[in-house]
Symmetry: C2
Subunit: 311 residues, 2 copies
């Protein structure tokens, strides 16, 4: 039986194998995803993001259990763009999910950054497709931090849960623009900690500046004690219903696809340039000349661009 059949029958090993092939940029994997693209679009994709230390893994863990109790099939992709590692349970905090990963209706996968030209967002999009074909009802995409890479990653999602935590201090102001852009639903986790109410008030005040029709709901959670999880599940459902009834669901999927296409083109073009046109040694030598002030980076760039266009 081949990978295509196994995948559609919900074989977890086939899922793991195909995601690895995608990460290795195996052309056969993309041919399979092309062929099976009409089998995608059924899974609901939920992004879980927020600063390190917010307890995102534990919260994801509890949400997964809540959906399992509803009889759903659930998948988790845990992404660390700063990690070169990939696959299995390499991320330390994923160990906590071990009791879940043996559940027949759960598939869990860690992904790191492969290759220096980026591509983590591309890999995430492809892994979501694999898990969609596999038959997951819900796919969680969990990030480690909250920066530009993480924003790019959650641009693959239908609903994004922004997990905040008390004690961020003034940095909450600094990450404001980023979190306002991507959070559909907010959770303040570790809400039993000192300062939780203050954090809630600050985030609530930020959300008042939100100009969209949808005003992100704010839930207090203590994931480790399973507190507030039901409310969070309700908020996610509320957002999903709103998106589907308003027609914004399809608009977002079109926008997400647009982002995906742009990312794909970016990476393929860059691979083409740096694999074929310019070898490492050449750029190394030019860099030495820049440091010696024989030339400057802008002139080097213009010369290279000129050569690319001539070819």
């Amino acid at each position: 039986m081949n990978l295509e059949q196994k995948l559609q029958e919900g074989n977890k090993r086939a899922v793991a194998r195909l995601i690895t092939l995608v990460e290795n940029k195996d052309p056969a994997a993309f041919e399979l995803l092309k062929k099976l693209h009409n089998k995608t679009g059924n899974a609901y994709v939920i992004g879980i993001t927020g600063p390190p230390g917010a307890g995102k893994s534990t919260l994801t863990d509890k949400l997964v259990k809540a959906y399992l109790n509803e009889g759903k099939k659930v998948a988790v992709i845990a992404i660390d763009p700063t990690s070169p590692f990939t696959g299995g349970a390499i991320l330390g905090d994923r160990v906590r999910m071990n009791d879940l990963s043996t559940h027949e209706n759960v598939f869990i996968r860690s992904m790191g950054a492969r290759g220096s030209l980026g591509g983590i967002s591309e890999g995430t999009s492809a892994a979501i497709k694999v898990l969609d074909i596999y038959g997951a009802d819900y796919i969680f995409v969990e990030t480690v931090g909250v920066g530009q890479s993480e924003i790019d990653i959650v641009k693959n999602c239908d609903t994004t849960v922004m997990v905040m935590v008390p004690g961020l201090g003034d940095d909450i102001q600094a990450i404001k623009a980023g979190i306002m852009e991507i959070g559909d639903v907010f959770a303040i986790n570790k809400a039993d900690r000192e300062g939780a109410k203050k954090t809630a008030r600050e985030i609530d005040a930020m959300l008042d500046y939100n100009s969209n029709e949808w005003r992100p709901p704010l839930t207090m959670t203590v994931a480790v004690n399973n507190e507030g999880i039901g409310d969070l599940v309700d908020s996610i459902k509320e957002h999903r219903d709103y998106m589907q009834e308003s027609g914004l669901f399809e608009t977002r999927r079109i926008n997400n696809t647009k982002n995906e296409i742009v990312e794909l083109i970016k990476h393929r073009v860059l691979e083409h340039i740096f694999d074929n046109a310019y070898n490492e040694e050449k750029i190394n030598n030019l860099s030495k000349e820049v440091v010696k002030r024989i030339t400057d980076p802008y002139t080097v760039c213009e010369d290279i661009m000129h050569n690319i266009k001539r070819k």
Copy 2:
């Protein structure tokens, strides 16, 4: 008197103006940076990075004061890749630095992400050059988070200080690979908090796996009380001396330049493709077809690549 002269005379308004021109991708600004490239290379560039809530701004504030007391000229670039805002004191936490920004030997600037094709790393490189020409002895580059964008940003620096904080929990494991890659000097700030010793032990254990000759020193700081700042200044100096004596200083500057050139080419090529070859509407329509499952993202990407090559 023109911008070029004013800049070299250390006029702060000229510095601010030129950084704005660089952010706006004004060709005249890059022509000026080309011309004055032989005036660069004198400033020492220090990256300050770490997770949100670690107190990086306060720590930077104290380090700036320490160098001012040595009679040095200091500049700070505070970068938030998730923020679309730029310039002035827009980031809330920069307000704390107001007493510094009026000091004649200090220049402070916030930078956000401009444009959807990235370029924050490119903007940082250019701003560093401007401040170098202006005559800064030390340039601090402070990031908001700790993700791939932040790693790209500190690849412009000579010494990178990784600021950690107690209470990160299991996420410390997840960010491990990222912080090991870029930290030359470690500070555990808010070291008067519970769990500081545990965090120190965990990071110390991580540093044991470091295979480089240089073993990053670890300093405990309470920036808000000015505790441990002297030790941190000493650690930075120690790293600087090591790099210069071992010849790694020049190697790193060559590598940083290489990164800069690669980033420049990436952005210029992408601008070329998305500005000229493909307009937004075309990609929008193709995205709709993907969502309707008429085609798939990989086929769309291949078709576009084919068209680009034919032109």
